[in-house]
Amino acid sequence: MNWLKPKQTKAKLLSETIQGYLFISPWLIGFLIFAAGPIVFSLIMSFTRWSLLSSPQWIGLNNYAEILLDDPLVYKSLWNTAYYVLFSVPLGVGFSLALAMLLNQKLKGMRFFRTIYFLPSVTNLVAISILWMWIFNPEFGLLNRVLAMIGIEGPLWLQSEVWSKPALILMSLWGVGGGMIINLAALQGIPQELYEAAEIDGAPSWRRTIHITLPLISPAIFFNLVMNVIGSFQVFTQAFVMTATAAQGQEGGPNNSTLFFVLYLYKKAFQQFKMGYASALAWVLFVIILIFTLIQFRLSKRWVYYESGETRN
């Protein structure tokens, strides 16, 4: 570009800038209307009492005070969500890793097995939730029929305060296909020479797994972990579909044992129309997710291995 005169370069730069902003303008406008604006508005709303019908009333920190001090259902839903995250995330991350390693063997038919394991994760969550309601049916459902065959009397699952959350966790393991695919791609990206060298050195296979495989796919595991935590904190559809009885407003049962945080937020906002309170709940969730994500990034420096040798933030 040396042959261009400075003036022309400047004009070219200006025109490229204008065109560049024109090209990204759909996103830029969308970002302002559908993300940045609502974020600011949501924060303001969280300091008000507002039912949509009347005009909003400024009540300062009252919503937050009520959430932290005065609303037992907040703690109930936080506990339910924590329980779900605590079991479904490690089990899901571990299971998707185990499946990927199983599929990464040089055997015939791996594409077939991959398809079968992957299929349930690319479906309609409402249809799947209804299917699992039937599977968890205490008397005639598939699961308790199978358990009965081996002499176990199955629990009431979704109708039991104790077993409703384990039921949803079990169901979530059926959908680990996406994470499995990410792990599998990472496994297949490991150069074979590394294994051959280790084999010549006489390293047994379990040592090769620990010292070569796991470090090299740790970025994929980390990605799955972060996305899984964020997703599990927002669990909604399964609980909404599977635990509702005939009457609206009953979702989250029995006895609020599946009242997850986002489900509670939904009920406050769209069944009771407490928009201010629900906005405050959303910010509490946002802060919780942010803290957990930051902790994971901080801890990741100790175990996630990036080939270039530099750690990311």
Partner: protein, 282 residues
Amino acid sequence: MLKTTLKYSKIGLAYLVLITLAMTFITPLLWMVSSSLHSLDGVFEVPFQWIPEKLHWHNYTDAMTLLPFGRFLLNTIVITVSVIIGTVFSSSLVAYGFSRLRFPGRDKLFGLCVATMLLPGQVTIIPLYVLFAKLGWVDTFLPLIVPAFFGSPFYIFLLRQFFLSIPKEFDEAALIDGASRFRIYWNIILPMARPAIATVVVFSFIGSWNDFFNPLIYINSFEKATLTLGLNLLKTQIIGSGVTQWHLIMAASVLVLIPNIVIFFLAQRHFLKGINVGGLKG
């Protein structure tokens, strides 16, 4: 000798685990299909007959007459097609800007775009509902369609990755020939990016077709429901009335799942690609 025996027993063990898991993964779907072909008494029979003596295909037509599923299907197609068109054009335009042009603030804005992917939807859903309510858009398809025309960060990211792999010489040659940036985008880059566009189409199809939360919030009238929302309505209706007619509910669920399964088998490689590009950004 001992070594080969050991090797074969290892392979045998691997297949045993693989097959057991495959059965575990597929059985719920088989159970759904089997239940959908039983009579009401049949689904409650002990022991369960995996292949019913008489196949009750009419369960499917019965399920479709309980609610206007044809109407729901039409609604879902209108919404999904609009979302796909909006997503493909807006996201590819933005991705072109982020990948082929140089302008101040570009990389910071792209960082912001990627960062919004991590924003939990709950923070924006209430203000958006208020916005759409003020615009009079509640109980129309607009809240489900219009946002798609403003680019979606995940697809922008995915397309930008692909555009970056196309040599810049194509643009430069066309520029010297006097082509405008938009023509380069439209006539050169978009046709070359067909595989990446296909991935975006598949993903936005799945996202829109199966969306539950947004229709649940924005659609109130029965005749405007999507398939997913309608399926939940059917479930509420059936479970609320006496003996649950699981055979009908399963037939309706199978119908809603069929497009998913078909797309899955037709476009499996696009799924794999999209998921892996998504995975890379970690």
